[in-house]
Symmetry: C2
Subunit: 327 residues, 2 copies
């Protein structure tokens, strides 16, 4: 069925309210879940919303948690997320890194003991909207085998980088696996192969068959040894910067929680007016994309999806909407 | 032929001296070129040394340049590399980011107008050796097609991340192409295919044949659209953070020069003693690598190569050594 963006957000808000969040927190959560959906990232928007509500109800996510600053040295801080909602903790720490960057040119917040931040891009868009450059990442539960290994001992640890632009922010939001589990499920439902190698089949061979990869739960690192190595380093760095758990420690828990995340903002507009940032990035992207329209810049698809949905509303599968409304 | 590590460094120093560098700068250059070779990265060590000397002689690299600070806001600075030697500029800016991090917890230096920094890992090892966490990257000339494109309009923009450890620093040093041109040349000489897809052949198909890829000069982004997207964002970010050129602007120059680079250090030991960093990272790496010895952590191969070479010396092809000695 087709619903408007406002109806989507209002529905999320109505369901979240009454789960112990403050009114402001509930509003932020509804806005972010709706925003990710409107940007086309259903997997971490509406598709994930029922699971988020279940996690609030079963105590994985603590609605009354208040993140707390633990240690601070001028522009670098460590925060304890107290197992609160990942979105709320991440918004607060992203905003805090912006504040620190305002004071010192650059700011870094390491966040321990938090929950899934849903779409990583949310925090890139957020910081870019304020005119700063953003770098951030999270670790996850063990969900990917390292290159050369059979068992899932590393996370696919999404990495985010954003640059503010008047014509549409550049926002990279990239997990270290070639495909997300959400995308594999979508293709498996449709039937047919993935366009590129996606993971391992039951015989241990690399395959494009999404059903096989979903059966083995062994996704392929993007760039093979490269995504595998970058995932390892980001995991260690997130734990060390936040004082929190690594993917190894998260794997010992009964559910995916107590994640470690990093939020770095840089106050570029202090040195360079936005119109100069715009002109540098426009020239570079025009040069890259002159060849054909298939070449997208990171963030372009989200912006186009958003503009379309704000005008036309969203198409939501009937089954899913029924599930949402019955929460 | 086999030579000792000391002989390698002394030979480099003898050749560099008399090219207009200060004695200290010449010593740093020789040490870094030797160090990369000893760590097994011949492509950006001894193999690249003759080209570096040529670039000094033809004026691409200016030996007397003194990098200069242009703008500063507390922990974020922009420097102009004045087209000096890339290694010297990068060492100075990496060290400066360490200083800033000592004062403010985190420090960021954007460096414009510099030359090739040779092995990116050099600066990761350098900062980790001082006990800080490092994130850095560089742009390059256009040397890779974006995913979906035919012509080389993006750089393979190496990304570096390092974490200090008593048992061997973790150092990720990763270009955004699946393979480096150096590795393709090495395999092409031996004959035979690359183990994985490497780039495009003359018919525009993806191939594992290194000779074909060297002919088209169209290498494959690591992770396909992922490495392509990350390369784009890092290029824009390097230009915006440093006030320097993007890959697009570098492509307009007669030679690869005036690169933009970023150096970020974080003062993690302020919050966490090294023995705790060691124990967190040891537990995580043991968990990842329990499966088999083929799984390396980033930086492991360099350390093992270094330990072996310091004992046994290095094997250098006769032809190459003759070329070096005749410079």
């Amino acid at each position: 069925m087709r619903i408007s963006c406002n109806e989507l957000e209002d529905t999320f808000l109505r369901i979240i309210s009454g789960h112990g969040f403050t009114e402001e927190d509930a509003r932020d959560l509804a806005r972010v879940f709706a925003g990710s959906t409107i940007d086309g990232v259903y997997s971490h928007g509406i598709n994930r919303f029922p699971r988020f509500i279940r996690e609030v109800r079963n105590g994985t996510v603590l609605p009354e948690a208040e993140p707390e600053i633990i240690r601070s040295q001028t522009a670098f801080e460590q925060w304890d997320g107290k197992q609160g909602a990942g979105i709320l903790n991440a918004l607060q720490c992203a905003d805090r890194s912006v504040q620190l960057a305002g004071q010192s040119g650059i700011g870094c917040v390491g966040l321990a003991n938090t929950n899934h931040w849903m779409r990583g891009g949310t925090y890139g868009w957020r910081v870019a909207e304020r005119g700063l450059l953003f770098i951030g990442w999270t670790n996850t539960m063990p969900n990917m085998p390292p290159w050369g290994g059979d068992r899932n001992t590393i996370g696919n640890n999404p990495f985010v980088m954003a640059i503010p632009r008047s014509e549409g922010h550049v926002v990279l939001d990239m997990a270290m696996s070639q495909y997300s589990y959400g995308k594999l499920e979508w293709h498996a439902k449709k039937g047919g192969m993935m366009p590129e190698f996606a993971g391992y089949d039951t015989r241990g061979e690399i395959t494009r068959d999404p059903a096989e990869v979903l059966a083995t739960e062994r996704i392929l690192p993007a760039g093979l040894w490269k995504g595998s190595a970058m995932a390892m380093v980001m995991d260690l760095a997130a734990a060390v910067l936040s004082g929190g758990l690594t993917t190894c420690g998260i794997g010992d828990l009964p559910a995916e929680t107590k994640l470690s995340q990093v939020f770095i903002s840089v106050n570029i507009r202090q040195f360079m007016p936005q119109r100069e940032i715009d002109s540098i990035t426009r020239e570079a992207l025009d040069f890259i994309r002159q060849q054909n329209d298939r070449i997208l810049y990171p963030g372009q698809r989200a912006l186009e999806h958003r503009q379309k949905c704000l005008l036309e509303g969203l198409e939501i599968p009937d089954e899913l909407w029924k599930e949402i409304c019955s929460l």
